[in-house]
């Protein structure tokens, strides 16, 4: 969770090596002990879609406009499951049923522009399921969709997660979406994870001043009307980050030491890590 531009999507694109050959990636991404950073392309290609699948913000432009839905699904099925011909078609139909697309047989022959945004996101999810991945990374899967469709897609993701045991990473800037659909949250600010804890802990006992600021800016449904408290200042530009803690310039608990070096995440309580020397 974090605001636009804080590095949520980039983190996952970097993990899967999807940022292009000119991006320089540091740190490490461990999948069963293997580091994916700097792994050969062929190895990454075996991870993508099969171990870790990803769906994106704008479903309508994430599907190729010149290929039929059936062909795009079939491509994933051939790649990950070795299915072809009628077997692939039957499985594609089953997957569309699985994501609750009515009249699956006919939809296989449709092009993306013939479907709504919500339907296209369902197709993207079906395509992600084709590889039977262990982990699905959903990058703001509902941002481009209207509110009712948003709820349906989140419902569907939850259902699939419960049924298949597949893990779900939900990238979002929406506190409500995060609260309702996840067990654990990593709050990001200016490219770093600043707080990492089970969802209840974050909402009940936020430790990082940024997380607290976010929650303080939320209106309450019940209770008296009150003036919302915004976080003062703006996010620093990524090419002009402060030397110390990136949040320090906006932080009301700042001390001199905050400006010397970026704070490392430390265990504040069991299963609760915070990157703040004042927390």
């Amino acid at each position: 969770m974090g605001e636009s531009g804080c590095g949520k999507s980039v983190t996952w694109l970097a993990a899967l090596g999807l940022l292009g050959s000119r991006a320089r990636i540091g740190g490490e991404v461990r999948l069963e002990g293997r580091d994916l950073v700097g792994a050969p392309v062929a190895e990454l290609e075996r991870v993508r879609g099969r171990r870790i699948a990803m769906i994106f913000q704008d479903p309508s432009s994430s599907l190729n406009p010149v290929h039929r839905i059936g062909r795009q699904l079939g491509e994933a099925l051939r790649l990950h499951r070795g299915l072809d011909g009628t077997a692939a078609e039957a499985e594609a139909r089953r997957l569309l049923d699985r994501v609750h697309i009515a009249d699956a047989q006919r939809r296989l022959g449709d092009y993306p522009h013939e479907l709504s945004g919500g339907m296209n996101q369902r197709v993207m999810i079906a395509m992600a399921l084709a590889g039977q991945p262990d982990l699905l990374v959903a990058d703001e899967p509902t941002t481009a969709l209207d509110a009712t469709v948003q709820a349906q897609i989140l419902e569907l993701l939850g259902e699939i997660r419960r049924d298949s045991g597949m893990a779900l990473v939900l990238i979002s800037h929406d506190l409500g979406v995060v609260a309702e659909n996840t067990d654990r949250v990593c709050v990001m600010y200016a490219g770093r994870v600043v707080e990492d804890a089970p969802i209840d802990t974050v909402f009940e006992a936020p430790a990082h001043p940024y997380t607290r600021g976010l929650l303080a800016a939320l209106p309450e449904l019940d209770g008296p009307r009150r003036v919302l408290t915004p976080i003062a200042g703006v996010v620093p530009d990524p090419w002009n980050l402060p030397t110390g803690c990136s949040f320090a310039p906006r932080c009301d608990r700042r001390i001199e030491a905050c400006e010397s070096a970026p704070p490392m995440p430390t265990e504040k309580a069991a299963d609760h890590r915070v990157a703040c020397i004042r927390a």
């Binding site: 999807l18 290609e45 994430s62 010149v66 994933a76 092009y111």
Partner: protein, 310 residues
Amino acid sequence: MLRYLAGRLLRAVLTIFLVVTFAFFVLHLSGDPAMMILSADAPPESIKAFREAWGLDRPLWVQYAAYIVHALQGDLGNSMRDGRPAMQLVLERVPATLAITVPAFALKLLIGIPAGIYAALHRNSLADRLTMMVSVAGFTVPSFVLALVLVLVFSVQLGWLPSAGSDQSTSAILPIVTLGVAGAAILARFTRSAMLEVLGQPYIRAASAKGLQWRKVVVEHALPNAAIPTTTIVGFMVGTLIAGAVVVESVFAWPGIGRLLVSAVSNRDLAVVQAILLLVAATMVTANIVVDIAYGWLDPRLRRGGKSDR
């Protein structure tokens, strides 16, 4: 689809009619064929006789009506120079022109498209910059300059190829290369930018995220989409197969349509110029229709009469 095609054909006929009309008036108002063909100091009686013989003494609108009526019957008039039917004269030249424009067209496709794709896939690399530098040079240098440089190198210095004419089997090489280089340069730039545009699209990243090999992402997802804008320029090049070689044919003394056009214009050989323009307009219009049909085939979003229920 049939209704759409009928509409397109009707518009095509209208376009050709407008071209013919426009050309008729411009040519008839811009100079006197009698003066040009007989020379200005010919005796007045011969000039008068020439005008009467070709009907040039009649009012312009009468000449125009007569021309259209005859044209509709397939008669485009005779050349004022050698009296033979204009269309026959023009059609005789078509094979010579096609003999250089068709191989040049193939050269454009074979060099331009792969170069553009390669440059886009290696954006900002040395190869990309070199390709684009050569490409800019290729289409900014006028074709007659390139033609002269090629003649200087391959005919004068090295003596490998003839500098002009059509009497040897190797005569066509320099005209083909001259035409091909400029076209390939334009096509390379166009293909590169179309490719770059497509490579930046979310569906390319999504296809990679699916686990597809990069080669397959390029071949199966990027190329079919980049083909759509590239078709426009390729279609335009098809349209210039007949009359795109005027300058090059003149430089290399190649006996094609281009040279016939130049001499017919300077002689005010009206029927011949008209016949060439008609042929050019027809090729252009046909190429346009073919491009439109190709669009529908390449891009399902443009198909008419498709399913539209959402």
